[in-house]
């Protein structure tokens, strides 16, 4: 084996110098490419911050991490986030999207890919309550619950899920496309709608939105 390698090396000595340079460059490029592929396995999707109480992140491989106080925690595709009683937290997603997490909440960070639209970030809310505020323009973000989906445009809203999956959507500002398996309805500023299993979402009704989002004041500041 040793002899063979020596022969190969001696043979290479006769090669033009540019072949060696190109070879080394190729190996370097492939190393960078492979590193990219390896990183692509875990996609960073946001940051958790401003935790109050017990704010836990369960990674896709089952490892559980906790966020304490004012620290931060990177979030990845497939993470499950859960809060216990008297616990809250704030999540920052790309594009200036803020998500406040209320107590006793469980949700997973997912995504949908479409050739025509790219990635849509999805928060699958199993139970509890989220407040979402997006920046200007349509955002590729949806919140799924056991009985409904809220697709976000330029908006601020609160969404709450009961143990039977019944979903309450309160739109503070803007428009949310709120839909169940039985129909979709656009919900606008200062109105509320309910989604129940086996039913179309209810017609939007006026509501006191400040009351609905008053719980967020501890983590995103006082409601204006």
């Amino acid at each position: 084996m040793h002899v063979d390698m020596n022969r190969r090396w001696q043979g290479m000595k006769g090669w033009p110098g540019w072949v060696t340079v190109v070879g080394i460059f190729g190996v370097a490029v492939s190393n960078v490419w492979c590193a990219d592929l390896a990183q692509a396995g875990t996609v960073q999707v946001g940051l958790a911050t401003n935790a109050v109480g017990k704010f836990a992140v369960v990674r896709a491989d089952g490892i559980e991490e906790r966020l304490d106080g004012r620290g931060t925690l990177l979030l990845y595709e497939g993470d499950l986030i859960k809060t216990e009683a008297a616990s809250q937290g704030l999540i920052e997603l790309p594009g200036g999207i803020q998500v406040a997490v209320n107590e006793n909440t469980v949700f997973t960070i997912l995504s949908r890919w479409e050739q025509a639209k790219g990635i849509t970030r999805i928060l699958r809310l199993k139970s509890g309550e989220l407040w979402v505020k997006t920046g200007e323009g349509p955002k590729p973000l949806e919140v799924e619950t056991p009985v409904a989906t809220a697709a976000v445009r330029e908006t601020e809203f609160d969404i709450k899920v009961q143990s039977d999956g019944e979903t309450t959507l309160t739109v503070v500002q803007g428009i949310v496309e709120f839909g169940t398996a039985f129909g979709t309805c656009p919900i606008r500023t200062s109105t509320i709608s309910y989604g129940k299993r086996g039913k179309k979402c209810t017609k939007p009704a006026p509501t006191d939105v400040r009351q609905a989002i008053s719980w967020t004041s501890a983590i995103v500041g006082p409601v204006k």
Binding site: L110, S111, R112, W113, E114, Q115, A116, I122, R124, E142, E144, T145, P146, V147, A148, T149, A151, G165, G179, T180, A181, R197, G198
Partner: protein
């Protein structure tokens, strides 16, 4: 010389000639179309270990393309009635891939749930129901927007899904040895029917009944949507997998059942009051997915052991073509 035709006559003839030539250039003669129903179907095969879908021409039995689904563990397939969209579950990824059948490209990837197993389209094709084994749920997927519209808690390990002819009921087989009857107008389970060990595949039969396999046993069963009761159970051989329906000349309809433990397709008289084995057809290793052409004269069988697709002529019960496809081809569908 005196012209034989007046000037205006010549102009008319030239105009007519030019019109014919122009029309000829604008719309060249098209190839004669086949009568409706004679276009060969396109066959799609889910390759679980290749993470791909093989596309086979149903006329030449040549592989047209192997489509990368951008996911892992490709398992089940459902095709829309117009044949334009193909939905594929991916067990390992928990995602459904959507393939545009015109471009043969994957155009969307949607997370449904852990170990998503089968996908079945509602009768109006507006929704796809996806069974997530590890989440114990059915995800409701909007087939236009690709949004998850909700989920139905089913019980331990949902495995197979079929809808009644009128679309009022969904049937879901589960690892708890039952088939749940779901009212599609309320998404509530109205009944749980004990069937057998590891009930798996479900399909709407030509008789309007729901046919299924107990893969953990050696039997198939038939549910009557009129009574929501199991009306028949029948032994066909070890580890039956999937069922398709066809005819052998004047005999039929027959249920063609892939039986992995025998490496055969077992042909059963498709009469729930008189279920009996008519014949057994030798096929490749590990027959699993099976689908028939629209008129029930060809059966397409995928083999997870020999990694190929066999085409059976139901008239002679002979294998008339073998096509190498991807690794572990487990599910087969064809365009209508």
């Amino acid at each position: 010389m005196k012209p034989v035709m007046s000037c205006s006559g010549q102009v008319l003839i030239r105009f007519a000639f030019a019109t014919i030539v122009f029309q000829g250039c604008a719309s060249p003669p098209e190839e004669p179309q086949l009568p409706l129903g004679l276009d060969p179907p396109r066959i799609y095969i889910a390759n679980e270990s290749s993470n791909s879908v093989s596309v086979v021409d149903g006329g030449t039995y040549k592989v047209q393309r192997e489509v990368d689904v951008f996911n892992h563990g490709t398992h089940d397939l459902a095709i829309t009635r117009d044949g334009k969209q193909l939905f594929a579950t991916n067990l390992a990824s928990g995602r459904v891939s959507v393939i545009d059948t015109e471009t043969l490209q994957t155009i969307a990837s949607i997370y449904t749930g852990k170990r998503c197993h089968v996908v079945t389209l509602t009768n109006d094709n507006r929704q796809a129901w996806v069974a997530n084994i590890e989440d114990d749920t059915i995800s409701i997927l909007d087939t236009k927007l690709y949004r998850i519209l909700g989920s139905i808690p089913i019980g331990k390990g949902p495995m197979g899904i079929a809808f009644s002819r009128d679309g009022r009921y969904g049937y879901v087989s589960s690892q708890d040895k039952t088939v749940s009857v779901v009212d599609t107008s309320s998404h509530m389970i109205i009944k749980k029917l004990p069937v057998g060990s590891n009930p798996h595949f479900l399909i709407l039969g030509l008789d309007g009944r729901i046919w299924g396999t107990n893969t953990g046993e050696s039997s198939i069963f038939v549910i009557d949507p009129a009574t929501q009761e199991v009306m028949s159970t029948f032994e066909v051989g070890p580890a039956p997998q999937q069922i398709a329906f066809g005819y052998k000349g004047t005999v039929g309809p027959n249920a063609y059942v892939t039986v992995t433990g025998l490496n055969k397709v077992v042909v059963v008289k498709a009469d729930p009051s008189d279920l009996r084995i008519l014949e057994q057809i030798d096929v490749g290793t590990g027959p699993n997915g099976i689908w028939s052409n629209p008129v029930g004269t060809r059966l397409y069988v995928g083999h997870t052991g020999s990694n190929d697709l066999h085409v059976i002529d139901s008239g002679t019960s002979k294998v008339i073509a073998k096509v190498d496809v991807g690794r572990k081809p487990i599910r087969v569908v064809a365009s209508r």
